[in-house]
Symmetry: C2
Subunit: 514 residues, 2 copies
Amino acid sequence: MNGALSLLQTLVNGGIDTCFTNPGTSEMHFVAAVDQVPQLRTILCLFEGVCTGAADGYARMTGNPAATLLHLGPGLGNGFANLHNARRAHSPLVNIVGDHATYHLQYDAPLTSDIVSVAKPVSAWIRSCRTAADVPVAAAAAIVAARRTPGHIATLILPGDCAWNESAAPATQFSVPAPPTVDEAAIQRTAALLRNGKQSVFCVGGPAATEAGMRLAARICQTTGARLVAQRASARMKLGANTPIVERVPYAVTQALKLLENAEQMILVGAPEPVAFFAYPNMPSRMSPPDALLHPFATAEQDVIGALDALAEEVGAGHEVGPVHERVCPDLPTGELTSEKIWQALARLLPEESVIADESITASWGSAKWMGGAHAHDWLPVMGGSIGQGIPVATGAAVACPGRKVVNTQADGSAMYTLQGLWTQAREELDVVTILFSNRAYAILQGELQRVGADEQSRKAQEMLDLSNPTIQWTALARGMGVEASRATTAEELSDQLAAALHNRGPHLIEAVL
Amino acid sequence: MNGALSLLQTLVNGGIDTCFTNPGTSEMHFVAAVDQVPQLRTILCLFEGVCTGAADGYARMTGNPAATLLHLGPGLGNGFANLHNARRAHSPLVNIVGDHATYHLQYDAPLTSDIVSVAKPVSAWIRSCRTAADVPVAAAAAIVAARRTPGHIATLILPGDCAWNESAAPATQFSVPAPPTVDEAAIQRTAALLRNGKQSVFCVGGPAATEAGMRLAARICQTTGARLVAQRASARMKLGANTPIVERVPYAVTQALKLLENAEQMILVGAPEPVAFFAYPNMPSRMSPPDALLHPFATAEQDVIGALDALAEEVGAGHEVGPVHERVCPDLPTGELTSEKIWQALARLLPEESVIADESITASWGSAKWMGGAHAHDWLPVMGGSIGQGIPVATGAAVACPGRKVVNTQADGSAMYTLQGLWTQAREELDVVTILFSNRAYAILQGELQRVGADEQSRKAQEMLDLSNPTIQWTALARGMGVEASRATTAEELSDQLAAALHNRGPHLIEAVL
């Protein structure tokens, strides 16, 4: 068999059953081989940022890597932003990047570029195959690298001749090392800290902020009196009814500083200490008090759940997780449409076991008030701060969870970066409801601009943050890509349309005009 | 003044009057300063690939760099593919990439990444400012680097504190070195080759394929009997009536080999020898005969026009350029709509002094038959092979040439990568007519798939190249972004709509259903 077929079979042997593809000529042998590997589902995306964002969403919901198929350096470049987000989410992911045949590279044909240099900032593992015989071994190593705790991005560069030449048999061995455990001494030290009478913040993020991690952390805090705080965002959080009530570090620096101002010691679990999203003149970068003790208990690379389990035992934690959110079923909102009312309607209507891919940006700040009372749901926020992931992540989550409703709460400015994902939702008949918060602005930047002292005379500056000229017609864009769409200008319309969209199956976009 | 304002003023002092922007928080001081620098036009794009592609189009039409404003590593990543194309076009361009404040980088906030690594494959010059005082000096160096012959990409990384802290006065000195000249001995050697009686191919590309270069080359060939051949593509070609008739190296390898099979010596002017766009099993990478003499006469980095001028004098070239295209005004096509008939209609209707941004891919192969007879026009093809540049390049060309009609001949699959550029065309009321060749397929890949031996049983493979499920409604997408649109299903409809769109001003998209 050729290298392409051996690669595909190795992917399947290594547990990868989904590939988000945007192929070109250099990947044509890969494309030609897919029909011989029925276990691999290939999903076409019309832009590479959709492939990489979808693979991120898929990985967050399954814990398994998906593959992407990308076309040389520029294809990887187009996928870079959502790979950056996926890296920050610790999502396992295997990129297959086609390249020119090894002997052709020297001629510097138009598409030649330094693929490794583009891959490096987002990849924990990179290898360029030298021969077709290399391919299965390299692919197996990529899968192992991707699966290492807590999940990594592996980028396998596949020159054309390595795909088309005769290769070796597909790999069948994939020894993923277990994550290092947190040793007994560290568990005892941490337990001692929690008992020393000081104001402790038990700060969870990443793998510690998953449903299992959060319940363990809540039990520990319930017993020790430590304050449970979650990082601003983690890749997959369980929110809504019956989940522990947890404070999250706010995005705004002053609010974050306020939240943590009394902390004497910060126990860090699954993520480093909270820092400002951006620096501002005369504001600190670190959100914890300067004299607080920072105590990294378990990093994301370690067995975080095991460590929390051991710590819970060490401190003699009971089964109580403390206060949890109760199911609150608010009335459907009426009157003028606001972003808060959208959350209100969603809190009432969201089906059980839904998944929310959230990229509502400024609008998300009002979500917590309502969504704690919604049915329990998985919440997938933007992890790397690069906008344009909401539609792709929702796409990947829907591929991963065919039985569950996926809701994409989506800001309009961010949606424009990767709107092509709607087409894939239509093609694959994915069960995604997109709620488009249409405020016709980069609203978060309008606040930032005010903060740096620009005034109303700043016409050119204001224009750079204004999306109202011309107004984007989101229903037209969605329908143009085969997705049903509707437009809500009042809270009543929003409620009606949302109820219908959540009841039906298949993709639907609601433009909520704010 | 702060670093941001000193930067803006330095850009203007260095002759940069246009900036294609997609800002974020780390660029907010830049944004806040733009109203103090009225000479700089800022143009908002809703995706960074539009910024970089527009800057490419702008540079090709003016010879001057535009600036882009991009948001950290992921913003640069989103702009990477069209920077790759711009690099291959030798377009001068200055990227301003915002970054975290220098002291904030150590905290690895979510948007932190290795910006230099992403910039490297596309940038001839990269610098990250260390202090605000650095900024004007660094910006001046970036402009000089961008302007060096034949045009380069300079990437200036601007940490937040370098933008907001007190800076030095704007730079006013910009000494761009003149390109090295081709020496007298090389001119004489080349002249001697052209007289030695062997079959010479005079192969022009890049700066030698501009209007001035092509006329000089045609005069030299007319006198010496060498065969004039142009590279497959050059950044800006003058085509149509009264331009010399020149053979171009075809994309298809077998055709390219056939064109050059009798060459005994290849005189290379402005570009390296022609090579295959992609490698294929059992096909050569080089398009010239293995035993042909390769003679690089002038590289793109040298004074190519000066060298051609000197060579013309050395060989005693007359003023005759040989056969030129005559203006041919074909009948308007009728009946079933085909891509060839679109070119036929365009050849008849194209106004004088138009600019064509071409990304019609497979459809472009039929253009030469008709477009030679059109009014003379500038032709801007895809240089780096990365699709998704047509809409942005047309956007930038229209910004550069407000008095000229810009026509974007655009394949549908490629258009999807950067469709957001239509919104900028609407906002800036740019005079661009997009002819969307809607064949609902990655047609070029369908041919490649056949070539690698996939058959009609290859359902999954075929699906990966098929855009018909669901069918994209391009009129909806265009209107959704504020661009007038129409749909043509017959040659008559196409002709009518094209005539009207070319007559009116402002952006219009015609979906030509093939």
